[in-house]
């Protein structure tokens, strides 16, 4: 079983990229499973199951940070995909704050970014980009030649990883992504997270609404302080 973890900002085209990839993989006789992790709503699991006839599941992270949730549930998900005799588990994460890197050692980490999100986006994302194996740039048909090039240059400046420009909506230039997925090695258990990104379950995530660090516990900070631990 091989694990492919796909991250990226909301609406960047993660689902569209994975759908085209899934179609091509299924056509080649590959056995897939699909897991979608989102905050409160998603129905991509039903779409993938219906369209490709593959086992598909979803997890709603609710009050948990979705990437924190992914760390907790992926172990079970690998076991599930193996029981379904899938060769590839495609995991699509929610990716909301752009700071987290949900990728795991030995799996394939794909970040999906839209060309229309501004040329400086690659500079604003941390580990989600720098720890990925492959960057897929979508909506390339909507931007000028110059911006395509500047976007790529900024991306390569932030992370030296392969970049594939696509028009995922029309299924254009996704072949290199599929080839990369097929080249993913077997997952070695126990799987480990690739980096230690700033993901935490905090009192704010858990619903405490008071403003000011004095009201919260765990790793906190004041305006003029570094991070410190507050609690028992």
């Amino acid at each position: 079983m091989r694990a492919v973890i796909c991250a990226g900002p909301p609406t960047s085209g993660k689902t569209t990229v994975l759908r085209h990839a899934a179609r091509k993989l299924v056509e080649r006789g590959r056995k897939l499973a699909y897991l979608k992790i989102d905050v409160q709503y998603c129905d991509e699991d039903e779409t993938f199951a219906r369209e490709f006839g593959i086992p598909a599941r979803k997890v709603h992270s609710g009050d948990l940070c979705p990437d924190h949730c992914s760390v907790l549930v992926l172990g079970d998900a690998f076991a599930w995909a193996a029981r379904e005799s899938a060769e590839f588990l495609l995991v699509e994460t929610a990716g909301l704050c752009l700071r987290c890197a949900p990728y795991i050692e030995g799996g394939l980490g794909i970040i999906v970014l839209e060309a229309t999100s501004g040329m400086n986006l690659p500079r604003k994302i941390g580990a989600m980009l720098t720890l990925a194996d492959l960057a897929v740039v979508t909506k390339i048909d909507l931007v000028s030649q110059a911006e395509k090039e500047v976007f790529r240059a900024n991306l390569l400046d932030a992370a030296e990883i392969p970049v594939v420009e696509t028009d995922a909506l029309h299924g254009i230039n996704l072949e290199p992504v599929v080839r990369r997925i097929e080249a993913t090695p077997e997952l070695v258990q126990p799987a480990r997270l690739r980096g230690s990104p700033p993901m935490s379950v905090c009192t704010i995530c858990a619903g405490k609404k008071e403003i000011g660090w004095e009201h919260h516990f765990g790793i906190v900070r004041a305006l003029d302080s570094d991070l410190f631990y507050r609690g028992q």
Binding site: M119, D141, S144, Q145, E149
Partner: protein
Amino acid sequence: MEIREISLIGGCGKTGEREPVARLDMRMGDVVSVVGPTGSGKTMLINDIALFADANTPSRRRVLVNGAPPPAIFQEDPSHNPIALITQHTTFLSDLPVREFLRIHAKIRRAARRESVVEETLAFANELTGEPIIEHAAMTELSGGQTRALLVADAVVIGNSPIILLDEIENAGIDRLRALELLKRYRKIFIFVTHDLRITLLSDYRVVLLRGAMQAVVPRGEEERRVAGRIGLLDSIMVGMRDRLRAGERVVERDLLGELRQALEAPSAEAVR
């Protein structure tokens, strides 16, 4: 890699039958028009070229460069792609100032004369626009016409793309004939998707499309050169009248009749531009 020629190997039309033109060779320096009614597959044709189609698009066409399948790097890195496609939807999203943006692009392209290519790009764009581009304005503040002019200028000068695909430049709000005249100074392959009579007649040949298939490749004839001149005169009459309206003046029937008479009487050699 020096590009001498790109070829489109015919596939099939929308109804699935083989297209009548089995192969279209376009050589460096050619100006090509793609013509046909709305929905006939003009945009699909230039998309096929832009994608280096390899029997993997609905038309099943294939693109060859210098007679062979194109190298993978063309599609792997936009700055190595020899084709610039400017569609009706292509736009700038950056809010950087114009000059700074162009400088960044020139830097990425490792242009040897970084400042002078930026100057050349701005001068080129300004020749096409009604009102000159303000260099310190944000890219996103440019008008539709200015944006189009700068897209073309950037692709031609900084991008230095040897093959330029332009989708309906006549609707871009820029001076289309001035654009064609300026573009012809650069040795490239220009492919225009167009509904415009004059652009078509100023091209070396036209590819005629119907129901998604290339029906014929028609070279411009000698007589058409003369006709193009006469149509040019008619066109200037129309432009003149439009300019009068734009200046708040009125159009006068007597003036129009006089100009039409002059156009009719002009010897054909004079009419040729």
